[in-house]
């Protein structure tokens, strides 16, 4: 039975729905003109799974995110969130999706709470409910006391935490993060990663985390290696190391992609 059928069948109970993967990408290709950016990409993010999408700049990570968030329609293949096809059931799919984009998307002139309330409104929450969820979201990322400050006053790491808080306000089942730690100092990176990992553990949501920083991978993560639009590996870390005969994710990535150039290190 396909995931799409599972979730749209109203007779199925919650238990069945829980088994539906948070994200299914199946045979997706995408081109810009003659340039093929994604070539038959497939991956799955289960509920409660933390999936690392590893790839260098230009590997196609952002294009994949654009397709999942429906910035472009996927021309071939299928993408579904919790069983809802992003093209045919986009409203239900987007309702279950939280995104932290690579670029900064908060209004720096507005306060944290104004930003969060705006996002809640985009998901249809009333003003009162938006305020409540805004407070909860700030609590979630440890910025409760900063709600009335302007975003401009925050550091880079705090900005990211607010964006994570915002993406969690409507309690999504799938959280996408596109290079969320780029440009952050080591301490901020660690706190951002920790927050998201705790969310996975506690809320049981599926996370797809795109990065080119190999040291963010834990042994328990699922790893998808994307290189020049093609998925080269999809599975656990131990198997990745065994398969490539290497001892670290970085070496394994180099062996898989044949990249000679040094991979960009964390700041």
């Amino acid at each position: 039975m396909t995931p799409t059928m599972t979730a749209t069948d109203p007779k199925l109970g919650a238990a069945d729905q829980e088994r539906t993967p948070a994200l299914v990408v199946n045979g997706v290709s995408h081109s810009f003109g003659d340039k093929k950016v994604l070539d038959n990409v497939s991956l799955t993010v289960d509920q409660g799974a933390f999936v690392m999408l590893l790839g260098l700049n230009g590997a196609g990570k952002s294009t994949l995110f654009s397709l999942i968030t429906r910035l472009y329609d996927n021309v071939s293949g299928e993408i579904s969130i919790c069983g809802f096809d992003v093209r045919r059931k986009s409203s239900q799919a987007l309702q279950r999706l939280g995104v932290v984009f690579q670029s900064r998307t908060l209004d720096v002139d507005l306060t944290l709470m104004q930003n969060l309330k705006y996002h809640a409104a985009l998901h249809g929450y009333s003003t009162r409910e938006a305020t409540r969820r805004g407070r909860l979201a700030l609590e979630l990322v440890g910025l409760s006391d900063r709600g009335n400050e302007k975003v401009r006053a925050l550091s880079g790491g705090q900005l990211r935490r607010v964006e994570i808080a915002r993406s969690m306000m409507h309690r999504p089942d799938l959280l996408l993060l596109d290079e969320p730690t780029v440009g952050l100092d080591l301490g901020s990176r660690e706190s951002v990663i920790k927050i998201v990992r705790e969310l996975v553990a506690k809320e049981g949501l599926g996370v797809l985390w795109a990065t080119h920083l190999m040291d963010e991978v834990l042994r328990t993560d699922q790893v998808v290696v994307l290189h020049q639009g093609v998925v080269l590996y999809n599975g656990g870390v131990p198997q990745l190391l065994t398969q490539t005969g290497t001892t670290s994710v970085r070496e394994a990535f180099r062996a898989l992609t044949g990249t000679k150039a040094p991979i960009e290190e964390a700041a």
Binding site: Q95, A121, G124, G142
Partner: protein, 336 residues
């Protein structure tokens, strides 16, 4: 509380039943979403003082300098909606209001196109509401800002002595230069002799122009916003605001009834007169002009409504990232 500790209460209360989640996308949800988008535009605008000032200074320069200079050279004879000779300043005030709308529309639509790949538009477009609704709300948010700018302009103009006269009754009026059959059809709604829709109580009469102009501004602003979004989505060459000024704003503004009555243009150049009559901006100006005088210029109203619908449909189609013309034109610059 430390940043890394998750609050148990937070996780617990985020949850909601699936029925509640469904309701969120009902009528109340749409309304909340609309309010949120419009309110954000207004908040952002109020925080950008430079934008507020520059939007106000532009029409005031036209009013204080240009119009004062031309006061002696350009006489405006008695044409509807005027019942007496008017100063040139008074004649161009509605055109300057429309200019505020045009500039605002182009500015906000350009930023919508450039933000599409990166910033705030992407967070808007991952909202579960239909994209046409999100774009319409966003356009109306821009119109709300233009409405604030318009009233700021009218306020300054009032102290300069430019204000609409007290208005004893609301009239239906047909565009003075329209084909005769159109007047016959639409004019029949009003009292055939006085052309009056309804009378106005005395204490409101001085404010009627200011109140009646609001719906005209909203409608004209929406039309121009949708047109601007369509144009900036389709024409890739409009990469900076200078190009927009040269190829969109100036031609629309000058080839209209904003600065001079159409009959004067006809005397000067019949082809230009025809161009002005085809320019939707002319009808936006006239709709606003008549509204300030408590009159509903029915032809302009019909034309502006018609163009609004057409431009909105075109804009939604052209802009929709997944289906529209931008997507067909090629991928994002440099992103992968």
């Amino acid at each position: 509380m430390s940043a890394s500790t998750l609050s148990a209460t937070a996780s617990a209360t985020f949850a909601e039943t699936s029925a509640a989640a469904q309701r969120r996308l009902g009528i109340a949800g749409y309304w909340a979403c609309f309010k949120g988008i419009v309110w954000r535009e207004i908040l952002r605008y109020l925080h950008q003082r430079e934008r507020f000032l520059s939007a106000l200074v532009r029409p005031l320069i036209w009013l204080f300098i240009f119009a004062a200079g031309f006061r002696q050279t350009l006489g405006v004879s008695i044409i509807p909606p005027y019942q007496t000779y008017v100063l040139y300043e008074e004649y161009i005030a509605p055109g300057l209001l429309a200019m505020i709308l045009l500039f605002n529309a182009m500015q906000s639509s350009l930023s919508m196109v450039y933000d599409r790949e990166t910033g705030t538009m992407r967070t808007l477009l991952v909202s579960p509401f239909p994209r046409s609704f999100l774009l319409l709300s966003k356009l109306l948010g821009g119109v709300s800002v233009a409405l604030l700018q318009s009233y700021a302009f009218l306020f300054v103009a009032y102290w300069w002595g430019i204000e609409p006269p007290p208005i004893p009754n609301i009239q239906l009026f047909t565009f003075y230069d329209a084909p005769s059959w159109t007047g016959g059809v639409i004019g029949s709604m009003a009292d055939p002799i006085t052309n009056t829709l309804f009378s106005v109580p005395a204490f409101i009469q001085p404010y009627v122009g200011y109140i009646a102009v609001a719906p005209a501004i909203i409608l004209a602003g929406l039309m121009l916003g949708a047109l601007a979004l369509f144009i900036s989505s389709v024409i890739k060459q409009l990469e900076n605001f200078a190009g927009v000024m040269n190829f969109v704003i100036f031609p629309m503004f000058f080839a209209s009834s904003a600065l001079y009555p159409l009959w004067r243009i006809r005397e000067a150049s019949p082809p230009l007169y025809e161009i002005c009559r085809l320019n939707p901006f002319t009808y936006a100006v006239e709709l606003i002009r008549f509204a300030l005088y408590g009159q509903i210029d029915t032809i302009s109203l019909a034309i502006v409504v018609g163009f609004t619908v057409v431009f909105l449909a075109a804009a939604v189609f052209a802009y929709n990232p997944s289906k529209g013309l931008i997507a067909r034109r090629g991928g994002p610059g440099g992103s992968a």
